[in-house]
């Protein structure tokens, strides 16, 4: 990772750390939500960007983490973070393991659809059966605590904790990308056949990536449930699977900071088009602006937001200065 990229990432985290000082509770809430989506996007980046596995069912793992948080919490007393968080991550990872084991037998568009199928199964489980609260969802009555140190009921504490989790996941995935495991995944993405020809058994690597990705998505789901105190089946819907896919493509595939940028860009674009201050009465038609922006981003930003500085450099300084396109981990 070159210096400019490290500095960029460091700046982003520093800005996020200082942000609560300058805004009120709505701003803190909003950015907590965006950071949770960023963790969610990072989990998908591991699958799509690093390993080349296009999963259209990521929302299921997100939703399972969220539902586990509510269903496992005791009624009437604040659960301890120490066991609730790992339990939720494990629940999602377990479902991801099962889904991965079965789906990885298919390829291409069929793989995409099988992952969707398994996500829809989870969706209908909570939507139609009394397991979840049906379409009305279920409520988390008491937010988790870490002894007397952390009470996630307070929004600034939750913000700080989410930021910590985001930094942790980012760092973990960066290290993973540079390890042998990460290199193997990159090899699988570029040419799986060749990897197998050199003696690599690719299936366990793909399955491991799938499971880790599911666990991280579960972490994001857990945080979301804690933030809103409310979970409902739409957290597992294909709309959300689609939205997180959009986020990482928008940000730029193959780069961890792409997931970060994409989550922020997607959420902020929504806020922008929804704001009545800018659009007045037309703000209720905000989907139009968002849709047009997404289409425009594919036409004008083929490598996502991450590729924007490169594109500008080409425009300003001529074609010869375009560096070799190389997909780095971060």
């Amino acid at each position: 990772m070159t210096h400019s990229k490290t500095i960029f990432t460091a700046l982003v985290f520093a800005a996020l750390a200082l942000y609560p000082v300058f805004t009120g509770s709505y701003g803190v809430d909003l950015v907590t939500k965006i950071m949770i989506y960023a963790i969610f996007a990072l989990s998908l980046e591991l699958l799509v960007g690093a390993t080349g596995l296009i999963c259209f069912g990521q929302a299921a793992f997100f939703g399972i983490g969220a539902y586990a948080a509510v269903l496992l919490s005791p009624e009437g007393s604040a659960p301890s973070l120490l066991w609730l968080l790992p339990a939720c991550v494990l629940a999602s990872a377990a479902y991801a393991l099962a889904v991965g084991a079965l789906s990885l037998r298919t390829k291409g568009a069929y793989f995409i659809m099988v992952t969707l199928a398994f996500a829809q199964m989870a969706y209908y489980m909570v939507h139609d059966t009394p397991l979840g609260g049906g379409t009305d969802g279920i409520y988390l009555t008491m937010k988790p605590v870490l002894g007397s140190l952390l009470d996630l009921d307070k929004s600034t504490t939750l913000y700080g904790f989410t930021l910590l989790m985001l930094a942790g996941v980012f760092g973990f995935l960066a290290l993973l990308g540079r390890s042998t495991f990460g290199r193997a995944l990159a090899g699988i993405r570029v040419n799986e056949q060749r990897m197998r020809a050199t003696g690599f058994s690719t299936y366990p690597y793909k399955l491991a990536a799938f499971t880790i990705s599911g666990g991280i998505a579960g972490l994001a789901g857990f945080l979301f449930a804690v933030k809103d105190g409310f979970v409902n089946p739409e957290m597992m819907s294909w709309h959300l699977s689609g939205a997180v896919l959009i986020m990482i493509i928008l940000g730029g595939l193959g780069h961890l900071r792409g997931a970060l940028l994409g989550a922020f860009a997607f959420a902020l674009l929504q806020e922008f088009f929804k704001s009545e201050a800018v659009f007045g009465d037309f703000a209720k038609h905000w989907h139009l602006g968002l849709g047009l922006s997404i289409i425009a981003s594919v036409v004008f930003l083929p490598r996502g937001l991450v590729g924007l500085p490169g594109q500008l450099k080409v425009r300003l300084m001529g074609r010869n200065s375009l560096p070799e396109v190389r997909r780095e981990a971060v």
Binding site: A117, M121, I249, I295
Partner: protein, 293 residues
């Protein structure tokens, strides 16, 4: 469950399955022949339904026609829309990666929904079937079956047969099938592949719009109605085999029956059943039931 009730449920399942086939056939053509993942396909269905609602008074006033005139006008408009949309938007997607197609067509869904909101409002609307089709047939002692639903099944079946005929017995069908297996070869044979693709796209869109128009009296016309149809269509296309019309028909009927009888016998599991079915079929036949063509 006595026999007449079973028969009625079979008719329900058939009608649902055939309607799904109509929408899914367009999707499998576009996906199979042009390799484009089109998330906006559900929006075409929605456009059809809203056209049935919005065009009926206009057609009645200007052309003096009734239901069939509205259908005809709607199909003509749909084919025109398909032509323009392909030329202006979709032709850019052929060379792109699947993920970019996903992104662009997702944006298109949002744009279509808001256009719908701006042009037709946000309320739920009913569409009345034409009077001569609005009656019922007595089936069994208690229940009657709406004639209009039989009409829907009839239309879908007729279109299915028409498509089969075009694909297997005409030159155009032959070109389309060839284009789906080897695009460059077809081009080098002097066939205008761009024109071919435009025709296929317009046909796919037209069929989806027709499905929406025909279904409007039974489904009502409401915001986001394309959503539920979209996902089921992808399931059908994948189960049937991408690019296979035969496969889409079989898969659609299968889903129609599983869904209808599932709702009756296992209402809590009805939603999951369709996806369990898809997962099982794909694990057995990872490329779907039939090959393209």
């Amino acid at each position: 469950m006595d026999f007449s009730i079973f028969l009625i449920q079979c008719l329900n399942a058939l009608q649902y399955g055939l309607l799904l086939f109509l929408v899914a056939s367009g999707l499998t053509l576009i996906f199979g022949i042009m390799g484009v993942i089109n998330l906006a396909h559900g929006s075409f269905y929605m456009i059809g339904a809203y056209m049935a609602y919005a065009l009926a008074p206009i057609v009645g006033a200007t052309l003096g026609g009734g239901f069939f005139a509205t259908l005809a006008v709607g199909v003509v408009l749909a084919v025109l829309l398909g032509y323009v949309l392909e030329w202006a938007f979709f032709s850019f997607l052929y060379e792109r990666e699947h993920l970019q197609q996903v992104l662009m067509t997702y944006g298109l869904i949002l744009v279509f929904e808001e256009l719908r909101s701006l042009l037709a409002g946000d309320e739920v609307h009913g569409v009345a079937p034409p009077d001569f089709l609005a009656g019922t047939l007595a089936l069994g002692d208690v229940m009657t079956y709406p004639v209009y639903r039989l009409f829907i099944s009839g239309v879908c079946l007729a279109l299915a047969l028409g498509m089969y005929f075009v694909f297997t017995r005409t030159r155009l069908g032959m070109m389309i099938r060839a284009g789906s297996t080897n695009r460059e070869m077809v081009q080098s044979l002097g066939i205008d592949i761009k024109f071919l693709y435009r025709v296929v796209f317009a046909a796919g869109l037209g069929v989806a719009v027709l499905a929406g128009m025909v279904a409007a009296p039974v489904s009502s016309v409401y915001p986001n109605m394309g959503d539920s149809v979209l996902i089921i269509c992808f399931v059908i296309v994948v189960i049937g085999g991408i690019g296979s019309i035969r496969g889409a028909l079989l898969a659609a009927l299968l889903i129609g029956f599983v869904d209808t009888f599932g709702k009756v016998f296992l209402p809590q599991a009805a939603g999951v059943l369709v996806y369990v079915l898809m997962a099982l079929i794909l694990l057995w036949k990872p490329d779907g039931l039939f090959k393209a063509g």
